[in-house]
């Protein structure tokens, strides 16, 4: 392929647009890992549920988009809360090992995939009959309405999450529980509530991501586990555990890398790049790539003490 700036520009733009849903999935995964302290491989199951919760009303029942989105959000959030309440909470109270959490979440994702294949079939599906998005040119770069929509949705959700974590009490509670759940409980912060909120946020990000996936290309029920979750995990590790937004940034970088890899790897072998990245990450960046001058873990004392100082309710602590 003759490399020109036109091609580079187009690949960069397409990679950026595609990486929007990678970023959403990575941030959702990293947030649950940070707050709930669970490698939630069950997120792939939530993705499958979110997708078919959009597919059913849109394609099978003919509902309008806003209603379908509301339905998918409600169903996926309910499932996320059920996972936290009926599984993670029980395993946590039992002091189950990491092993049990891993197996449970993987089985959960596999179960959702099989359920999807059983009900809807194993063939790829799209959320709309036609996936044609109007395109306009800025210089030599073709920009589709889908690209702009994906970037806008992702930017809005990321900004809202940043605002929530930084400026709301519940957001600060989430960080406090992520730092030290036992200490947070002593200060009157409900860790159960924080876990539920983190799962709810993850569900919202997952539904948004699956909406973007389904309005761009057909999806197999197994794709969320085979591709999206693997990429989210790689991004989370590379960003350094606990760096929620950095996971999103790394996911965008991986999306761009995948896009540019078309210059040297045929499309058949492109997916291998993601799998190879797992080993490269583990070998070269086991603790993650430091972004922004250091990992952004908030120290236990800092968050909890700041919360204690700002909240009169917490003065009742023993």
């Amino acid at each position: 392929m003759d490399l020109s700036w036109d091609i580079v520009g187009q690949l960069a733009w397409t990679g950026l647009a595609t990486s929007t849903y990678y970023a959403l999935f990575a941030v959702a995964f990293a947030l649950v890992l940070k707050v709930n302290q669970v490698w939630n491989f069950g997120q792939a199951g939530m993705m499958v549920l979110g997708y078919f919760a959009l597919y059913t009303p849109l394609r099978l029942l003919g509902w309008p988009l806003p209603l379908a989105l509301a339905f998918a959000l409600l169903l996926t959030i309910a499932a996320a809360l059920a996972i936290e309440w009926f599984a993670f909470r029980i395993l946590r109270e039992r002091n189950s090992s990491v092993l049990t959490f891993f197996i449970f979440t993987i089985a959960l994702s596999q179960c959702a995939i099989y359920l999807g294949e059983l009900i809807f079939g194993a063939d790829p599906k799209t959320l709309f009959t036609r996936l044609i998005s109007p395109v306009f040119l800025i210089g030599p770069v073709a920009i589709s309405h889908w690209d702009l929509q994906a970037l806008a949705i992702t930017a809005c959700l990321m900004s809202a999450l940043a605002f929530f974590l930084r400026f709301t009490k519940d957001g600060q509670f989430l960080l406090a529980v992520a730092d030290n759940p036992e200490l947070a409980e002593i200060y009157g912060i409900s860790s159960s509530r924080a876990y539920a909120i983190a799962m709810t946020i993850a569900a919202i990000l997952v539904v948004a991501g699956m909406f973007l996936v389904g309005t761009r290309a057909p999806m197999y029920p197994a794709t969320p586990l085979n591709q999206f979750l693997v990429l989210a995990v790689v991004a989370t590790i590379m960003a350094g555990l606990g760096n929620v937004f950095a996971a999103g940034v790394v996911a965008v970088a991986l999306g761009l890398l995948q896009s540019f890899s078309i210059l040297v790897i045929s499309s058949t072998w492109q997916i291998l790049l993601v799998y190879a990245l797992i080993f490269i990450t583990i070998l070269l960046f086991p603790k993650g790539i430091v972004i922004g001058g250091g990992t952004r873990r908030i120290s236990r004392a800092t968050t909890t003490d700041r919360l204690a100082a700002s909240s009169p309710a917490m003065d009742d602590r023993p």
Partner: protein, 307 residues
């Protein structure tokens, strides 16, 4: 009818080898890997290709296949276990998906159409009966070897590592070496099972080694009882025979496979919540709770790197 019973018996024997090897990794080693089917695939494909393309004697092909599976598992587990045991799950998943993608797309393995015309290890009118004896002999030897491994001095070292890895390391013992060894032995057994499968069924396709097989193996170990000798044997026989009952419902293939998958994975989740010790793991007698007890106070985040 008797040939059908022999075929189910052979499949059950192969599954006993697979599940017992997986139990060594998961139950005794406490290592989470979803990639066991890919070592099964490596053993099967290597053995089949050696016998088919190079004319290697079948018994030798099966042994070489098993050894290559074990060697490959070391290459996969060593980098991730050096950092954290928790990274093994993602490394194994990536390895499984990546290698399956390669098998699916290269000519020598028959790509998605599968590998056919694999030489048979036994010919003649009593092929199934003889093969059944061969497979069950291999299965019983494998189980006996695992039993010997986990009950002797080495078994005590495994338990010590499992109960307190830091204390174990403080005694100058290498947890990494034990983990890699268990992973290699378990994967080698999967390779052996793959070779036996290939030379009996004479046909291999990448679909047989995907996440469905991962889920099935997990079910066999978790439902039977992890970290017990009898549990995976019981689980393997049970989960080989049970789907045959569903088969008599005469459901279409597109329904059968996912239905089995739903049942198996649901069983895993149900057992993890309600009976984590499995059917044959009693109180204090194995099961994933053994790890839970050992991990009292441990969070789900990765521990410090294994040194």
């Amino acid at each position: 009818m008797i040939e059908y019973v022999y075929t189910i018996g052979i499949l059950a024997g192969i599954n006993v080898i697979l599940a017992s090897g997986f139990n060594l990794i998961l139950g005794y080693g406490g290592l989470v890997s979803v990639a066991h089917p890919i070592f099964y695939a490596i053993g099967g494909y290597v053995s089949a290709l050696l016998a088919q393309k190079l004319g290697t004697p079948i018994a030798a092909s099966i042994i070489i296949g098993a050894l290559i599976s074990a060697a490959t598992s070391v290459c996969v587990s060593l980098p991730s276990l050096r950092v954290s045991g928790d990274y093994l799950v993602i490394a194994s998943l990536g390895f499984q998906l990546g290698l399956l993608h390669i098998i699916n797309n290269v000519e020598i393995t028959g790509a998605a159409n599968g590998l056919t015309n694999i030489p048979s290890i036994v010919e003649g009118p009593h092929r199934n009966a003889i093969f059944c004896i061969v497979v069950w002999t291999a299965a019983l030897v494998s189980v006996a070897a695992i039993r010997w491994l986990v009950s002797g001095d080495y078994g005590r070292a495994i338990t010590a590592m499992r109960n307190d890895e830091d204390a174990f390391a403080a005694l100058g013992r290498s947890a990494l070496r034990i983990k890699v060894t268990l992973f290699a032995i378990g994967s080698g057994l999967a390779g052996l099972a793959g070779g036996l499968y290939a030379h009996f069924f004479l046909y291999l396709t990448p679909e047989q080694f995907g996440i469905f097989t991962s889920a099935t193996l997990l079910t066999m170990v978790v439902v039977g009882g992890a970290a017990t000798i009898r549990g995976p044997i019981f689980g393997a026989v049970l989960l080989t025979v049970l789907p045959e009952a569903i088969r008599f419902l005469d459901l279409p293939v597109v329904v059968m496979a996912p239905l089995q998958g739903v049942i198996f994975t649901f069983l895993i989740m149900l057992f993890l919540i309600l009976r984590p010790q499995g059917l044959l793991g009693g109180r204090g007698g194995g099961g994933l709770e053994a790890w839970g007890r050992a991990a009292q106070g441990e969070t789900a985040l990765p521990r410090e790197p294994v040194r």
